[in-house]
């Protein structure tokens, strides 16, 4: 087993026992990124030199007796998190040369826990996409089959973790952007309860839906990251006062006696039969671990995608107004007046999918359409919340597939946005409700593509999700499978 095949928790033990140093680890992963990533393009910006400086510091601190939780462990951030002094593009041409003067809270907290930052990960432009094909920095490839997409928008994070380029990464999830790529790439990813992880410094897509979370090899690794990431942040007004948690400490909670809900709505037409089969097998596995399976209903899940594609673009159209070419970001050289400066800078700086969503969002907020679209979608959102409230009165968790299909081929859906939007049909309701959900690898298709199952929990059930995920992974080995990737000379 090579160094990069270890997960975060393993590497932590090796570092603690001083069997390896942070510098060795960092050097190894940087080397692996250079040799493997050219075929995946999961990184946008490498933090090579600085990562080694951080690793040296970590080793010194360990020698001095520091016991920081994640000391010396290499990670990488989705390029949506502001990193002081390190380019942050959000996958867009708009921010090709933008270097933030401050760190996102997530970045700050993980740095304070002792992590070493290897670089910034590719993503769909402004997190708008489900395939990572909208990135200005090139589509990311799925490590299990490089003809396939890795999912999105945190596709770079998922691909890099799956390809063992980094033991763990951060992602963000607005409608499934952690869970869907985690499913496509066969890794574990948590979308926490809205408000548990600070949004400060995370470039906003849809503020009421965006939530940062961990993406790693296992639930145990995700818990380690959550211990550091979660917590109240006075700089984010939507951060929950009781956001912090003891995620690793809660991992050993038994599955026995838990009531796990299964919503038949998630197994309806349009679900790939191999996925249905594997997810049902996983449910049986949970049952064999002592869980009681209870049918539940989520009647409004069917309209979640429609409501989402009103609300998310509405917020995005306003959130992205700051990219105007005036203070930072792309400024067109072909403008003769203010109006043209706005139009040209934004036309040149944003890709087609971002422009499409700004248009949709502006439209649904316009005078005369607001009630019919925005307000109605908010009502749907309330109904979806109510669905979950009712379901969680009966069960502790709900389980189902994460995606309707396994990873699809590059370019298969780029011409048909609606089919692309439907890739998030099982994940979106979770964001609308603000509840936590976890993707767990639970099998492979006959073609060798990963399959993910989604565990959904009530507000603040993040710890429970990770504990159940951990129990499942103790009993199974899907999360330990690794893609066969050739090293090339980078």
């Amino acid at each position: 087993m090579e160094l990069h095949d270890h997960g975060l928790a393993d590497l932590r033990r090796l570092l603690q026992k001083k069997e390896i140093s942070a510098v060795e680890l960092t050097t190894h992963f940087l080397q692996r990124i250079r040799s493997v990533d050219p075929q995946l393009r999961s990184f946008i910006t490498l933090n090579g030199e600085n990562a080694l400086v951080q690793a040296h510091r970590a080793d010194r601190q360990r020698a001095d007796g520091s016991t920081q939780a994640l000391l010396g462990l290499p990670i990488a951030h989705k390029d949506i998190f502001s990193t002081r002094g390190l380019r942050t593009t959000c996958g867009s041409r708009m921010l090709e040369n933008y270097i933030p003067p401050f760190d996102a809270t997530v970045v700050e907290r993980l740095e304070q826990a002792g992590t070493v930052l290897l670089g910034k990960l590719n993503m769909d432009e402004f997190a708008m996409g489900s395939s990572n094909e909208t990135s200005h920095y090139g589509a990311v490839r799925n490590p299990w089959d490089t003809r396939m997409v890795p999912g999105g928008s945190s596709g770079g994070s998922a691909a890099a973790v799956a390809a063992r380029l980094v033991p763990a990464a951060t992602g963000t999830d607005t409608g499934g952007s952690i869970r869907q790529p985690a499913a496509f790439c066969g890794i574990t990813g948590l979308k926490p309860t809205y408000g548990r992880v600070s949004r400060y410094g995370m470039i906003a897509f849809a503020s009421s839906l965006d939530q940062a979370g961990p993406m790693a090899r296992s639930a145990e690794d995700c818990a380690l990251l959550m211990d550091a990431m979660a917590g109240h942040d006075p700089r984010d007004s939507t951060s929950h006062p009781q956001a912090a948690g003891q995620f690793s400490a809660a991992l050993d909670r038994p599955v026995r006696g838990l009531r796990i809900g299964v919503a038949e709505e998630f197994f309806a037409d349009g679900l790939d039969s191999q996925i249905a089969e594997q997810v049902r097998a996983a449910i049986a596995q949970l049952e064999s671990l002592g869980a009681r399976i209870v049918p539940v209903h989520l009647p409004h899940n069917a309209v979640a995608v429609s409501a989402y594609y009103v609300l998310a673009p509405a917020e995005a159209s306003s959130n992205l107004a700051r990219f105007d070419g005036v203070r930072y970001g792309h400024r067109s050289q072909h403008a003769d007046n203010l109006q043209e400066l706005y139009q040209q800078s934004r036309f040149e700086g944003f890709g087609a999918e971002v422009r499409r969503r700004i248009l949709i969002g502006s439209y649904v907020l316009s005078a005369g359409y607001y009630d019919a679209y925005y307000l109605k979608a908010q009502k749907v959102r309330s109904l979806i919340r109510e669905d979950f409230r009712r379901a969680f009165a009966e069960v502790d968790l709900i389980v189902g597939p994460t995606t309707p299909t396994p990873a699809f081929a590059l370019d298969a859906k780029t011409e048909d946005p609606v089919s692309m939007y439907l890739a998030d049909i099982y994940t979106i309701a979770v964001n609308l409700a603000g509840i936590p959900a976890l993707n767990l690898p639970c099998g492979f298709t006959r073609e060798g593509l990963p399959i993910g199952m989604q565990l959904m929990g009530n507000y603040f059930a993040d710890e429970l999700l990770l504990a159940v995920g951990h129990a499942y992974q103790q009993a199974t080995s899907w999360h330990l499978q690794r893609p066969d990737l050739a090293e090339v000379q980078g």
Partner: protein, 477 residues
């Protein structure tokens, strides 16, 4: 049948908090451009707003002072539009549910009558930055120091019916925000800005189409702009035309308004609740805490001045028109003749301030000196007439009242023998007039008073002078 003007005002009051409404940058005016900025007010990607509690309390104080309902739950919304000095591409404001609901303001008009003007609402919002055109040729500079400064926008009902009523409303509001210490009210620096909605109608008919006039940063401009607008609209209506609903800008140099944009060109602001900020929820106990900390308000103070000092309504109104003037008066009048103090402040002091263009806050005469001056009148050290001379010195040069009286030898002559001597000299110099007076020409008495007062260089005690003069003239020679 004549036209009736209908006026409603929207006033933007800059709240005098230490820091901006959604970040901790200072709100100080006059710094080097873009010095007071941070990721939040520069709208860097990922930065988020956090509401300043002090701005909320100032809004509550205002609401309580105008008897308005304070909404226990209000919502911040985004007003979306592009402008270079609007960093986020939207302004955070309150739209559907503002913090302050319906209230009212009581005006005392020039003729002494009272009028109630309704306040529709007041809401919290952030100010934009400034575009600088002067210092750059063919380019525009952006200064974001002001971006994120807290504003309270106070919207009146269309209750005013003349330019002078509008001015009276604005002045009352101006006094109120300064009483409450929620704004410095500095109109030159833009801390207190006014837009006016003006329309005409025939009395009793429904409201006519209104024009909104922007950029009215003085009481005089407000009056001028409304007057101009009334004439403009009247000309249109009387020539059979229709007033267009539009936004107009007041040009202070030309004294006229001109069209900025029509209703059709108006922005669709696409308001929606700001997902970065939770609804603002206020506990009743918190509102009561703010209520308990309110200072005495102008109307209550005026009433107290009338009762405690026995002042007429007019005097009490003038003296309580600003908190600083009222405080000044209370220091001066304590234990003295209240009406004398009122006359001196309203006449001499305000006159001098007016002539020098100063405000009571920067009055060169400290209240203690003003008080001493009036004490010297009351204890007959100087006469009222001499006191005016002392006041002029005090106002122009400062120093202590007693020092001025001593240095200039202005102490009143109260020694009967000295006054008698002065009178005897005057009588001796004017034997003819003395004879005429004694022959019955009573009017000459005033002549002798004048001569004797002149001989004393104005310092003779007037009552004594009168009494002794009469004694001397009436006694047979």
């Amino acid at each position: 049948m004549s036209w009736e003007v209908v006026i409603g005002l929207e006033v933007h009051v800059q709240l005098n908090t230490q820091s901006k409404i959604f970040c901790s940058c200072p709100t100080r005016y006059g710094a080097e451009p873009n010095l007071h900025t941070c990721p939040v007010c520069l709208a860097l990607p990922g930065a988020l707003p956090v509401l300043n509690a002090a701005a909320v309390d100032k809004a509550i104080a205002f609401g309580l002072a105008v008897g308005a309902e304070i909404n226990r739950r209000s919502i911040f919304a985004r007003k979306n539009y592009f402008y270079p000095d609007l960093p986020k591409g939207y302004q955070i404001s309150q739209y559907e549910i503002p913090i302050v609901g319906r209230g009212q303001l009581l005006l005392t008009l020039a003729d002494g009558t009272e009028k109630v003007v309704g306040i529709t609402r007041a809401h919290l919002e952030e100010d934009a930055g400034k575009s600088l055109h002067e210092a750059f040729s063919a380019e525009t500079g952006i200064d974001l120091n002001r971006a994120g400064t807290p504003l309270l926008e106070i919207v009146s009902e269309p209750d005013m019916r003349s330019p002078s009523e509008a001015v009276a409303y604005l002045k009352k509001l101006h006094a109120l925000v300064r009483y409450l210490d929620i704004s410095d009210g500095n109109m030159q620096e833009g801390s207190f800005r006014c837009d006016a909605n003006v329309s005409l109608r025939r009395a009793g008919e429904p409201f006519g189409t209104r024009a909104e006039i922007k950029n009215l940063n003085s009481f005089r401009f407000l009056e001028k702009a409304i007057e101009y607008e009334m004439e403009r609209q009247q000309d249109i209506l009387e020539s059979g035309g229709k007033v267009v609903q539009e936004t107009r800008l007041f040009d202070a140099n030309k004294g006229e308004t001109r069209s900025m944009r029509s209703k059709e060109e108006a922005n669709d602001y696409r308001y929606f609740p700001d997902p970065d900020l939770l609804p603002l929820v206020l506990e009743e106990s918190h509102i009561e805490t703010v209520r308990a900390s309110l200072p005495e308000l102008p109307d209550a103070k005026k009433q107290r001045f009338m009762e405690a000092y026995g002042l007429p309504a007019y005097d009490a109104g003038v003296l309580t028109s600003s908190r600083a003037l009222a405080d000044y008066y209370e220091v001066v009048a304590e234990g003295l003749d209240a009406k004398l103090a009122a006359n001196w402040l309203m006449g001499d002091l305000l006159g001098a301030l007016n002539r020098s263009g100063a405000e009571i806050e920067s009055c060169p005469v400290p209240a203690g000196q003003m008080r001493k001056l009036l004490q010297r009148i009351q204890d007959e050290t100087i006469s009222g007439k001499i006191a005016k001379e002392v006041f002029d010195v005090l106002f122009e040069q400062g120093a202590d009242v007693d020092d001025i009286i001593e240095r200039k030898g202005l102490r009143q002559i109260t020694d009967p023998a000295a006054i008698a001597r002065l009178i005897d000299e005057v009588l001796a110099k004017n034997p003819g007039q003395v004879a005429d007076y004694r022959a019955g020409k009573d009017k000459l008495f005033g002549f002798f008073v004048g001569q004797a007062m002149k001989a004393s260089q104005g310092k003779a005690n007037p009552e004594q002078l009168n009494r002794i003069l009469r004694e001397r003239l009436d006694q047979p020679s």
